[in-house]
């Protein structure tokens, strides 16, 4: 029995060695992506596009995806943190939405239970009004807001989303109490666009790529984008150019498993950076209006901490978190 066991062990050792040999030339073996959302959404697209680019760049032998949606991605995060401890090939897609969900719901497992790897890109929002609105610029909106905060009905995604937080920041910057804003949340960009087109809200906000077609066809007028400088090829002024000191975006990135070594973390970050130079990735960026913003290592960890604080403060200001 003993002998047979050791034979089995030796076989296993040989098998491991041959796998190691086979995977030479690949920085990572079979990469496993956890996606904390159902197929089709932004998290899913990010993970699948990145995985594809990693294989094309030759930094990963193969990629597997697991979708586990719910609660802003925190259900997937909990499973990831528990099931992939110390696995150097595991990654999870994260972003501002997940940080928001963590601040809001205080789940037992947070991003502190995983290892920061890299930020990938930003998505920016645009503020729009229906084509027949008398409001011509952000200045007009702010004047209306200062006169009577309740009269400006802001339409956007769910409360606590980047859409909502950006409105709270604008109000605060204009010296209006953020808890007084009249924010009307809709589920999904579609419902929000319909409410803006139908004139049910005064001003709407959503991702630029979602609103672009309405702006181009003249059904909506763009007042401001939330990026630091004008979006390439688009004439829409930024908030800052109109005297509103707010810059906010919806970022996405990846985290690694808890308990991996510093070298393993660097290997993951290097692989992601290599993938971000692939054509399939840059094409995905262009077609989704994602703006590359790669950030790795300790700087990324610090960035996420900062985001956590910023989102928490905004949620406190509008009375969502105590």
């Amino acid at each position: 029995m003993k002998i047979r066991f050791s034979v089995a062990l030796r076989h296993a050792a040989v098998a491991v060695a041959s796998v190691a040999l086979a995977s030479q030339g690949f920085a990572l073996d079979n990469v496993k992506f956890m996606i904390g959302a159902n197929p089709g959404g932004g998290f899913d697209q990010t993970g699948r596009n990145l995985g594809k680019a990693m294989v094309e760049a030759g930094v990963a032998k193969s990629v597997q995806y697991e979708n586990k949606g719910g609660a802003g991605g925190t259900i997937g995060l909990a499973q990831f943190a528990n099931a992939s401890k110390g696995d150097p090939n595991a990654m999870i897609v994260t972003g501002a939405v997940m940080v928001g969900a963590i601040v809001q719901n205080k789940p037992p497992v947070t991003l502190a239970n995983a290892t920061p790897v890299a930020r990938l890109f930003y998505e920016y929002n645009v503020f729009v009004v229906p084509a027949n609105s008398p409001l011509k610029s952000m200045k007009d909106v702010l004047e209306m807001l200062k006169k009577d905060p309740g009269s400006v009905k802001w339409g956007g995604g769910s409360r606590g989303s980047v859409d909502h937080i950006s409105v709270a920041m604008i109000a605060k910057d204009a010296g209006v109490d953020p808890s007084k804003i009249n924010y009307v949340p809709f589920q999904g960009g579609g419902e929000a666009s319909a409410a803006i087109l139908g004139g049910h809200v005064t001003v709407g906000t959503s991702g630029y790529s979602e609103m672009q077609q309405f702006i181009k066809s003249g059904k909506m007028r763009a007042l401001a984008v939330t990026s630091g400088s004008k979006l390439p090829g688009e004439p829409v002024p930024t908030l800052k150019e109109q005297g509103v000191n707010v810059e906010i975006g919806n970022w996405r990135g990846v985290y690694g498993a808890p308990g991996i070594t510093e070298a393993q973390r660097k290997a993951l970050a290097d692989a992601v950076v290599a993938a971000s130079k692939q054509k399939s990735w840059t094409d995905a960026l262009a077609s989704n209006d994602w703006f590359p913003a790669v950030l790795t290592g300790e700087e990324f960890a610090k960035f996420v901490d900062g985001e956590h604080k910023r989102i928490e403060e905004s949620m406190k200001a509008v009375g969502m978190v105590k």
Binding site: G40, A71, V184, A194, A195, G198, H200, Q212
Partner: protein, 504 residues
């Protein structure tokens, strides 16, 4: 108008290319299959098929994905009728009368009226889409939170017709549904309610899960526990497979009314596929000349109660394509993923779509006509085969239902928690059946409750707290007046001595 026909003819030229016909066929078969399986919905299937867009040309892929979308609306009725297991949330109403009919040996006519009704409603829906899409889209945009809430009030009032024989028991079930609907993150304030710190509850409880638990699991367990002693197996009896002349006569108007309710509903943002089926069922129940046939009256199942909601469901699916193609606005989860498919080809559905990708869109619209016909041809011959499934001995049949239900619910998000929850709800379903509480109002409450709360709060936020908004805006006001009429006209008529054919 002539121009539209020319464009449509061009579309048919695209759609009847052999490759595109093949894609339409694959889509229809796949859609029917996933429609039959509870839990696995069209949204998930279309999402899983998205990678195909990298390999197939845009016309072929989009024709196939739309086939899946359409096919699912057809297939959802099958398990509702045969096993009292709604395959999709929009076929819950179908289960009420359809399954009663099946239990009395009339599964064939129930399946046939569902298939033919789906074909007629789908075809009329696509015709309306072809001719009036831009007009319908402009009208649909007038629906804001105030209009939706007024509509919900109308739905709540008319829903009394699904409450069953005892008003008190019906209202108790409805309240249970409203309570379950409260679980999860509140859609407006973003604050978790009644989640008991269970992360799985934060997004609320999926109503397909509750429907499958209450209907399928509850039904199967109840029969295992109680039925054999009392019921000597009427279920396995099959009288006739085809619709009688009387069935046709009763189905026709129901199909048309269902279409008239379903299509506009599909085109309004945030409408959802379930509410038109509720409204259609209520309408048929109120207008029927055979009120004693309805299951809540202890009847043998009323065919119009299957024909109406199924037509509404399919017309709704066609209606949902109006805002999708003309505005780029998805009104359902599946539509949202379909937009993703368009975007994978760098095509943006929306106001510019007909100009930028005309041939593709017209090909797609033409393929919808073809797909509808395919689904009818595919489904009618299956009626006999499906109906014969009921001759399977009960132990095997119920075991099969439980297996199907488990696979479907687990498949929604690969969660063992969901599976456990489904069986807990199944046990509740057994208890409700044992004490004669109807189960359909639970689902109705679960769907209407959170939606009306959300729309009410948004409407009041928009009006800055003015409750009169529901009477100041013309469309909202129309619904409110209609609600008042529905409530009081029967009462006044009765007082004046006019007898209605059916009194609630």
């Amino acid at each position: 108008m002539i121009e539209t026909w020319n464009l449509l003819l061009g579309g048919f030229a695209t759609a009847i290319q052999p490759a595109n016909l093949m894609w339409a066929f694959i889509g229809c078969v796949l859609g029917t299959a996933i429609g039959v399986l509870p839990g696995i919905g069209p949204a998930l299937t279309v999402a899983m098929l998205l990678p195909i867009t990298a390999k197939v040309d845009p016309s072929g892929a989009l024709i196939m994905l739309c086939g899946v979308y359409y096919g699912a609306a057809y297939g959802g009725s099958t398990t509702s009728i045969l096993m009292n297991t709604p395959g999709e949330s929009s076929s819950i109403m179908t289960a009420l009368e359809g399954n009663t009919m099946a239990k009395h040996g009339r599964a064939g006519p129930a399946l046939a009226t569902a298939a033919i009704g789906s074909f007629i409603a789908g075809t009329i829906g696509v015709l309306l889409l072809t001719l009036f899409a831009p007009l319908v889209a402009d009208f649909a945009l007038k629906f804001g939170p105030a209009e939706f809430f007024s509509l919900m009030v109308l739905a709540f009032v008319t829903v009394s017709s699904v409450l069953g024989a005892s008003m008190v028991r019906g209202l108790a079930s409805l309240s249970l549904g409203l309570a379950i609907g409260l679980v999860g993150m509140d859609a407006i304030a973003g604050i978790p309610r009644y989640t008991g710190n269970v992360p799985e509850f934060i997004d609320g409880i999926e109503f397909v899960l509750v429907a499958v638990g209450l209907f399928a699991v509850g039904e199967a367990l109840y029969n295992v526990l109680f039925e054999p002693k009392t019921d000597p197996g009427t279920r396995n009896k099959l009288s006739s497979i085809w619709m009688t002349r009387d069935d046709w006569k009763r189905s026709w108007p129901a199909w048309l009314r269902g279409t008239a309710i379903g299509f506009p509903f599909g085109s309004v943002p945030a409408g959802g596929a379930e509410i038109p089926t509720f409204l259609s069922y209520s309408t048929e129940r109120k207008l029927s000349k055979h009120p004693k046939d309805f299951s809540s009256e202890g009847g043998k199942g009323a065919i119009e109660g299957v024909a109406g909601p199924e037509a509404a469901n399919n017309a709704n699916a066609a209606g949902a394509l109006v805002p999708l193609l003309t505005l780029g606005i998805p009104t359902s989860a599946t539509a949202a993923i379909l937009i993703g498919a368009f975007q994978n080809y760098n095509i943006q559905p929306g106001p510019l779509l007909f100009q930028t990708s005309g041939p593709l869109v017209w090909g797609l619209i033409a393929s919808l006509y073809i797909g509808n016909l395919m689904l009818l041809v595919l489904n009618l011959p299956l009626v006999g085969m499906w109906a014969r499934l009921l001759t399977i001995p009960k132990p095997q049949l119920y075991a099969g239902i439980l297996v199907f239900a488990s696979i479907g619910v687990y498949g929604m998000r690969q969660s063992s928690f969901d599976l456990f929850l489904m069986y807990v709800i199944g046990v509740i379903g057994v208890i409700m059946r044992r004490f004669d509480f109807p189960v359909a109002p639970v689902i109705v409450g679960m769907i209407l409750g959170p939606m009306s709360e959300k729309q009410l709060r948004n409407a009041l936020s928009i009006s800055q707290g003015d409750w009169l908004i529901f009477f100041k805006q013309p469309i909202a006001c129309t619904f409110m007046v209609l609600t008042i009429l529905v409530m009081f006209v029967p009462m006044i008529l009765r007082k004046r001595g006019v007898r209605l054919s059916e009194d609630d």
